[in-house]
Symmetry: D3
Subunit: 283 residues, 6 copies
C-alpha cells in the first residue's frame, strides 16, 4: 500500500532489532529516517539519515515522520522496568507515533511482544498442533508493565484504525535473537531474517487494516496459531528446531515454564503465595 | 470476600457517581475513605472521612488505601480530553490504585466504560436478543483517549490478578445518569440504584477473580450479553424502557448511531473521509 | 491567499480581543476553531467550535490547526508576568503555533505588541508627521519579558517564512480597548473595529510573506510610520482624536512618558539610578 | 569598565571555545569562575575554580556570579537541536545570566552567532567591499532554533541595557575553529586568538552599552561591515585567506551557498518546494 | 538593626496572619512588598505594593527581595498536607527566602510553628511554672510533614547564620487566631496584636543572630519557657486566660491531649497500636 | 529486633560504603535487596539481588522494601551539591524510605553525617576527653545543603518514631574511607570494618527507638561523646591513631580547622567577611 518512493521512519534504530532492520532494509534500497534516544552505533547507510530524538517529544516525532509512508515503531523501553520508567517512552511515545501516522496517512508496523499475552498458559508440549495454539484474537493478558505498554499500543492501533483509518501491523515478537538461547525459544524464536522479511512485507502489503501477526519463525513447537500473515503475504523461512539439542535442557522456574511469557511471568509472581483464591481462575 | 469491618476507599468521591455511591453505601453502614482532587461537596457521612488527593501522587494513594478491604476506583478524567490530560490521572492513577490494592490484598471495583469497547457496531435494532449481543470477552475497541485509558486499566486489572491475585470487577458503565437522555440510552442506561447495588455486590461477593460486568440496567434494548454478573450475584432491577416515549426521537449523527460508543466514536471521526480502504474491515 | 472555505484557528479566544474577533469574524461567516486555556465565556457562534487547550501541549495545538487555512494567534500571557510564567505559553506556544502553520501551509496572524519595540523614544509631540515616526524595520527593543516573548515570536515568524515559506502578519498592537484611557493612547489606540478589519484583511490578502503592521487606528498623534499595510490592503477607519479632551490630562511617570511602551518601560526601571553610564546610549 | 580585581564568570567552560578562553584569560592573570553542565576536561588553572551547574538552575547561576565583574556567556546548546532541547539551556539560561548580571552590575559578553542573522543573502563574491556587507543593525533573520535562541538572547541584552543599564557585548561568531574547513569559512572564520583578544577587549573596555561585534578574523572575503568594535578597541589580527587554496573547493548545497548561515539554512529548507509564493520576498 | 527606610518583604501576605501583619505594619509606616500565590484580598495600603509569585520560582523571589532589609516569611502551606504538596512551597521556598536574605544581607523573621516540636509531652497541668516548661533549645520533634518543613526551615536559618551571618528570628507560633477556640489554646494562643508587635520587634532589634522565640501570648498555662525574647525586646501583652470559661471544656482525643502539638500529633497516630515497643521511649 | 530471616534493603548499594556493606553483610549470610540509581559494579552476592531505582520514585522504593525487616539507607547525593540537586534524592528520598519502613514495620539504619552538626566548634585539641565532647543530643547545626538534608532525615526518623513507632538508628558518619587522609580524620575516621559491625549491630539490636550513634572508630582525638551505642551493643575496634604520623601535617584553612565539619564549613563561608555582627554568637 505504501506509495513507493516514500521514506520510512524507524524508531529505536540504535537497538539490536533496529540495527538489523536498518541493515536489511537499506540494502533493499529503502530510504530510512532513523531515530533513537541513543546515538546510532553504526555507519548510517546511504540514502538514510539519523536524528536523535526522545519519544516524549511529540512535536519532534511528528516532524521526523513528515513525508514518510510508514513508521516502524521499535523504540521505547524494551525490557521490564519500573512503571514510571516505561510510561513516557512507551505510553506517551505510542501516542506520538500514532498521531504522526494519522497526519501522514502512514502505516504503522509495531514491535509488539508476546508479553502482551504472556499470561496465557503454554499449550501442552507436543499438543501445539492440535488446536491448543493461541489465536491472534485471544484476550490480552500482559505479564509486566512492559507487556502492558505493548498491549496498550496495540489498542491504540485499534483505535486509530477504527476512528481514523490508520493501518497498522502488530508483530507480537517472541524472542528475536541471533539464535535460540533456551528451551522456550524453541517455541518463540524469531530469526533476524524472518523479522526483516516480515517488516518489509508489512510495509508493502496492499491493505492491512489493524492486523496482528505472531513474531515467530517456522518453529514446530510454536505456541501460536491463526493470525493475519496472509494479509501481508509473509511466511517464516527459518526454524528454531535445528538448535534443539543445544538448548533443550535449559528450563526456567515452574511458573515461567507454565506461561507463554516465560521469565516475565514469574518475576515478582505472588498470586499463589498471597491469594488462597489463586485456584479459582477465569474460564 | 472482603473481610468484614474493613473500610473501603472510594476515589472520585466528589463526582456524580461518587456522591451517589457515598450516600448509598454509607447508608448501609460502610466506613468509606473518600478521596478526590476536588473538595467533597456534600456533608461527609458519619463513619466516613474525606481526604483530598491527586491520583498522580502514588505514595499518598497507597497510604489512603491502608487497611481498606476494597477500592472503588471511580476517579480520574471522566470524559474525552487531550491525551496529556488523561495520562496522569487515568493511566498513572490506575497503577497507583492497583499497587495499593496489591499491598492491601484489597479488591478493586473499577468504573470502566462502554467506551473501552465503543467501536463495536450496535446490534441491529430489534435483534439484540438473538445472539447479536456483545459478550464480555469481546475484543477491546476503545473509541477515545478516555476509552483507551479505561481499556488499559482493565488490562492492568488482568495483570494484577494473573500475577498477584488481586481480584477486580470491571464495570463497563453504559450511561449512568438520573434518567435516560436520548434513544441510545434506552440500551445503555444504568440507574444510580442499579449501580450502587452492583458495586455493593462486587465488594461483598465471595470470589471474583478478574471479572467484567456490563453496567446497564435491565433494558430490553441493551447491546450487551454474557458477563460475570453471576459471580457477584447481581441483577439489575430498573429499566430504561419506561422513558422510551420521552427520548426515542433523540438520535445522533450517522457514525454515532452505528457504534456502541455513540458520540465518542463520531467525535473527530475521519476513517471514511481519509481512507479509501475504510471499506475493508476486520472480520 | 487562504483557500476559501477553510476554517481558521483562533488562540486566546476567551480573552477580550479573542471575543471581539470571534463575534466579528463569525458574523462574516467564517468557520472558527476557537481555543483557550480558559472556558469560552460567550455562546459559541454557529459554524464555530470551541476546544479548551494549553498552548504548552504541542500535539494538541497541531491537531486543532488541522485543515485550517490560517491561525490567528492571540493566546498566551497578555501582560507582564515573571519570566517563568511567560515562558511556556508565549515562547513554547509560539513554536507550537508555527509548527502547526507549517504543517497546514496556513498563514499566521500574530497579536504582536508595541512592547516588542517599547524602548524606542516617543517622537517629540507635534513632530510625529515629520519623519520622526518609527518604521516597521526598526530595531526590536522589548520593554518587558512579555515584550521579549512578542519579539521572539516575530522572529520565529521571520524564520518560518525564510525557511519554510510560512506567511505571517505581525500586528504590533498599540492599545486595543473599547476606547482610549490616557493621553498615550491618543497615539496608540486601536479600535476593536479596526482590529477586526485588519485581521480579516491579513487573512484574505493574496500574499503577505513576513509582514509587520502597526496596530493603531488613524490617530494623528501616532508614533508609527511605514509598514506593510498595503500588502494586506488595510487602512484604519477610526481615530483616538475625538477622545482627546477626555484623556489628555492623564499622564504617566517621566520614564513612561519618554518611551513608546509607556508604563511597561518604567515598571522596575533602574537604568539611570543604577548605572552612571546611562547617559551613554546607542546612536 | 570592569572594576579590576573582580573575578569573571565563564559559562560553557568545558566546550572548545570555553577551554580556549580559560587558557588564554587565565594566562593573563584573570581569576575565572568556570562552570558547565559537563565536567571540565583540563586542569583548572591557578586562581580559577570550576563548579558544575545547569543553566536551568537560576538560583545557582546567580550565586556563581556573585562578586563577578563580567559574565562570559558561552554556555548552552551550541548546535541545532530540537526546540525543546534548546529551550531550557539557551532561553531560560539567558534569563538567568542576565538576572545575575543585573544583580552584580556585571557586564555580559555573549557568544552570539551568525545564525541569528543567517538568512541574509551572502554578498556577491568579490563585491563584499562595495557596500554589500551586512551592518550590525541589520534585521535579525535566524536560520534555526539555535539561531532563534541567539537572537532572543541579544534582545534580552538590549532589554537589560534599556531597562537596567546592564552593559553587554554580543559577538556574532562566524566559525571559530582551529582553522577554516570550507570555502564559506574564508568569510566567516574567527581564529581562537582573535576571539580571546576580542573577549578580553570586551571586558576591559571603559563603556560598551549594548554592542554588537561581528566575530570574524580579518578575512578579505568577510560578509560583515560596520559594528561596535571601536567601542571595545578591538581589531582582528588573523585572516582566513592563507587557507584559501586548501578549502576553496569545499562548497555546500545551493541553498547553503546563497545564505550567510550556510548549512544551517539549508537543513530542512522547504520554502521553495512548498510555497509557490517563495518567489515573493521582502524588500 | 535593619537600616531604616528599607522596605520589608512579606510572603504569605494573603493569608490570615499576613493580612493582619500588613494592616499593622503599614499603619506604622512600613513600606511592604507583599507577595503570595493567591491574590491579595484587601486594598493594598499606601506605600506598599503586591506582586503575585510562587515560592517555587526562586529567581522571582530573589528579585522581590531586592533592596529589602527584612523578609517576613509567612508563606507556604500552613496546615498538614501530603508530603509532595508541602515540599515545593515550604522546603524549596525556604531555600529561596534564605538565598534572598543572604543576597540582601536582610534579616529573616520566620513563622515557625509549635508543630516543629509538637511531639514533646505537655507539662502536667498546673506544673508549667515549675521547671516543666520547654526551652527554646529543646530537641526538634515535628508532628507532621508540615511540622517537618518548619523544623527544616529553622535549621536552614541556623545554617545561613553559621555560614553567612544571615540573622533570623524563628517564631514558634502556637495558635494565632482572633481568640482561643479550645482548652489547648489556653496554653498556645497568640493574639494578633502580640504577633504584630513581636514581628516588629524582631525586625527592629539591633542584633538577633539565630534566635528562637515562642509565639504565645502571656498565658499562665503556657507550655513554654526560655527563649530569645530579650534579644528582640518583646513581651506579650495579651492573655488567653480571660477566655478560659468559654473553652475550658473543649478537649481533644487522648493522644492530642498528651502532646504539645495537639490534633496534629494524633492525626494518623499509630505508634501504640502498631508497635509493642511503644512503651520504650527516649529519655 | 528484626525478625530473623527477613531480607534487608540497602539503598546506595553502588557507592563505596554500599559496596563495603554488601560484601560484609552478605558474608554473614544476610539476604540483601540492593538498589541504586547507578548499576552495581560488583558481582551480586548469592542470596542477594540488585534492582536499579531512583529514590524519587516512591512507589518503586516502597515495593523494593516489601518483606524487608530493615532498610539501610545509604543512598542519595553524598557530597555538597546545589540545593536543587540534593532536594529530590535526599529530601524526597528520605520520605520514601520512611514510608516504606512504616509499611513494613521495618527498622531504618540511616547514613547520617557529621555535616548535620558540622558548625559546632571542635573541642580544644587535647581536651576532648574533658567534657568538651559533643553529645548526641546537641543542637543540629548543618554546614551545607547536604548536611541540611541529613539533619532533615534525622528529624523525619524522629517523627516516624514518635508518630508511628518506626525504629531508626542514625549514624552520624565522620569520615569513612580506607584510611585517614588528613589530621581532621584522626578525630573523625570510621573504618569500613567498624562501620559494617555497627550497621549489623543496629539491625539486630532488640530495641532502638530513635537512636543516634557517632560514626567514628575508637579515635583518641574524637570530638564526640555520649550517644546510643549501648542500645545497639556496639563498640569500635579500630583507631585512627596509628595513622597520625602520616597525616598529622595535613591541615585545612582556618575556618575548616575551627569547626567539626571541616572543609564543608569553609566552602563559601562568608559570615565574618559579610557580617560585622559575626562576632555576636549564640551562647
Amino acid at each position: 500500500m505504501t506509495e513507493y518512493g516514500k521514506p520510512v521512519l524507524l524508531t529505536g534504530a540504535s537497538g539490536n532489532l533496529g540495527r538489523a532492520l536498518t541493515k536489511a532494509l537499506a540494502a533493499r534500497g529503502w530510504r530510512l529516517v532513523l531515530t533513537d534516544i541513543a546515538p546510532f552505533p553504526d555507519a548510517v547507510p546511504e540514502g538514510c539519515r539519523f536524528e536523535r530524538a526522545d519519544l516524549n517529544d511529540g512535536v519532534t516525532i511528528l516532524r521526523l515522520a513528515e513525508g514518510c509512508g510508514a513508521i516502524l515503531h521499535f523504540g521505547g523501553i524494551s525490557v521490564e522496568q519500573p512503571f514510571e520508567t516505561v510510561l513516557g517512552p512507551n505510553i506517551r511515545g505510542a501516542y506520538h507515533v500514532y498521531e504522526a501516522a494519522r497526519r501522514e496517512k502512514a502505516r504503522v508496523v509495531f514491535a509488539s511482544s508476546n508479553h502482551a499475552i504472556g499470561f496465557h498458559a503454554r499449550p501442552p508440549e507436543g499438543e501445539e498442533g492440535n488446536g491448543a495454539k493461541l489465536d491472534f484474537d485471544c484476550q490480552l493478558r500482559p505479564d509486566s508493565f512492559y507487556g502492558l505498554s505493548k498491549a496498550y499500543t496495540e489498542l491504540m492501533g485499534r483505535y486509530y484504525w477504527d476512528k481514523h483509518g490508520v493501518e497498522n501491523v502488530n508483530i507480537r515478537i517472541g524472542s528475536s535473537f541471533p539464535e535460540p538461547a533456551d528451551r522456550r525459544m524453541l517455541s518463540t524464536w524469531l530469526s533476524y531474517d524472518d523479522l526483516c522479511r516480515m517488516v518489509a512485507a508489512a510495509v508493502t502489503a496492499p491493505a492491512v487494516a489493524h492486523s496482528v501477526v505472531w513474531g515467530a519463525s517456522d518453529n514446530p513447537a510454536s505456541y501460536w496459531g491463526r493470525d493475519h500473515r496472509d494479509r501481508i503475504g509473509w511466511q517464516p523461512e527459518d526454524s528454531a528446531e535445528p538448535f534443539r539439542a543445544k538448548v533443550e535442557g535449559r528450563l526456567g522456574d515452574p511458573v515461567s515454564e507454565r506461561y507463554q511469557g516465560g521469565g516475565y511471568t514469574s518475576a515478582g509472581y505472588t498470586r499463589e503465595a498471597f491469594s488462597p483464591k489463586g485456584t479459582f481462575d477465569l474460564p
